[in-house]
Amino acid sequence: MAETPEVLEGTETMNGQAAEGTWEPKILGILCNWCSYAGADLAGSARLQHPPNVRIVRVPCSGRVDPQFVLKGFMRGFDGVLVSGCHPGDCHYAKGNYYARRRLTLLTRFLETMGIPRERFQFQWVSASEGARWAESVREMTERIRKLGPFQGVGRPVPLLIPVVARQSEAQAVGVEAR
């Protein structure tokens, strides 16, 4: 097995950072390359004001969004997760977003089973020409999460048997980075 011991540990959540008064919603955004990422880019180049709370991860297609990406986001303590892809019928790979729609709709309901309100997970369509729609969805989601308050995390601490050094590398290994 490849030698990357750092990724074995360091999965502490970010809730410690939710100190009073300084808290800002942290949202993980997972965007498809062809539509939503281009849409977000357009929002930027058109100088459309929108909150800086979304950390964007670019994927080739919303069909690439493993529900694990979203679960991992919540595990790491993001306050919300946003997945954005091409409108139905517009997928660069013809039908990736249709598969994504099934999975992520199911995921929305599953998150509720786990006690995560559906307001914390948003799944939407934004095309490359919809810069304004992107900016609006980010504004809207950031405000919604701000009202909900910090996410309380998913697990309860289990007494540790081995000393653990906090590390960031696991998040980097899967491209989920939040600071």
Binding site: M1, A2, T4, V7, L8, E9, G10, T11, E12, T13, P67, Q68, L71, K72, M75, R76, H87, P88, K95, Y98, Y99, R101, R102, R103, L104, T105, L106, L107, R109, F110, E112, T113, M114, G115, I116, P117, F123, Q124, W125, Q152, G153, V154, G155, R156, P157, V158, L160, L161, I162, V164, S169, E170, A173, V174
Partner: protein, 312 residues
Amino acid sequence: MNSQTEQIRTEARRLLESGEVSVVIGYGPGSTPARATPVFVRRAEDVDRLFWSPACAQNLALYVREQAGRGKVAVVAKGCDARSIATLIQEKQIRREDVHIIGVSCSGVVDPGRLAPAGLDEGTLKSLAAENGGLKADCGDGEVPLEREAVLKRACLFCDTPVPPLSDTLIGEAPPLQPAADQTLPEDLDARREFWAEQFSKCVRCYACRQVCPACYCKECFTDRLPVGWVSKRIAGPENWMYHTTRAFHLAGRCVGCGECERVCPAGIPIQTLMRRMASEVDALFGYRAGMDPDAEPVLATYRDDDDGPAE
């Protein structure tokens, strides 16, 4: 000897003598009357090793998949086991023509781990039998009826497919039983999160739940792909949560609710509550239940143009 045992042996003998199958996978008596053990019978003269009783808890579909590619096998299957086999056929892990299903109508199987809490001493148990959907046990002073709710594998209480939906030979009739109503999770979402946090904090990550599941056949489970870093080996709240939620999602539309994962869990985590919930969401959204039709497309491997989703 009960009539199911007799019929299973007769069918096994026929299949082995005719050379139609190379092995019959079934149940044999275990260490106590409340336990059965999987047996592999390869010769017609050995069919008396097979038996049937309310102790036949294992889901033998697991072994059918392991035999894939080695010719035709026969397997003794309850309702849930047959659904697991159908799932494996749907997912192209085995071929329909390579398995002969000896279906047995099932009125529930016993979870030995629940005997002691129900006040039954497994050590003195002399016999355990099913009768008209009820159960009776003999602990040395005659047969007494047992309460199903107290000793059955929990999944069996919710089962609505006791008769295998897929079989080549069918033994017995539908038992006169009604499935129990689904367990409810706390309504309040925070209470729910707390509930799962508490349950998952008990998990020791032995992976027995995965090993016993016929649908968990990945050659390399995400939990073993440590360099990728989805989840670490560390036993900690968030890690355990990640393991369970991911596994639940991997089994979405695939778990048949046999309850083996929960039965083997040494920590007593109510995995069925999670799995049943997922299954009912899949049913509600897509009108699909796992393993009911071997010819159906697996639900997440397909889509419809008019599936629910975000607004345009």
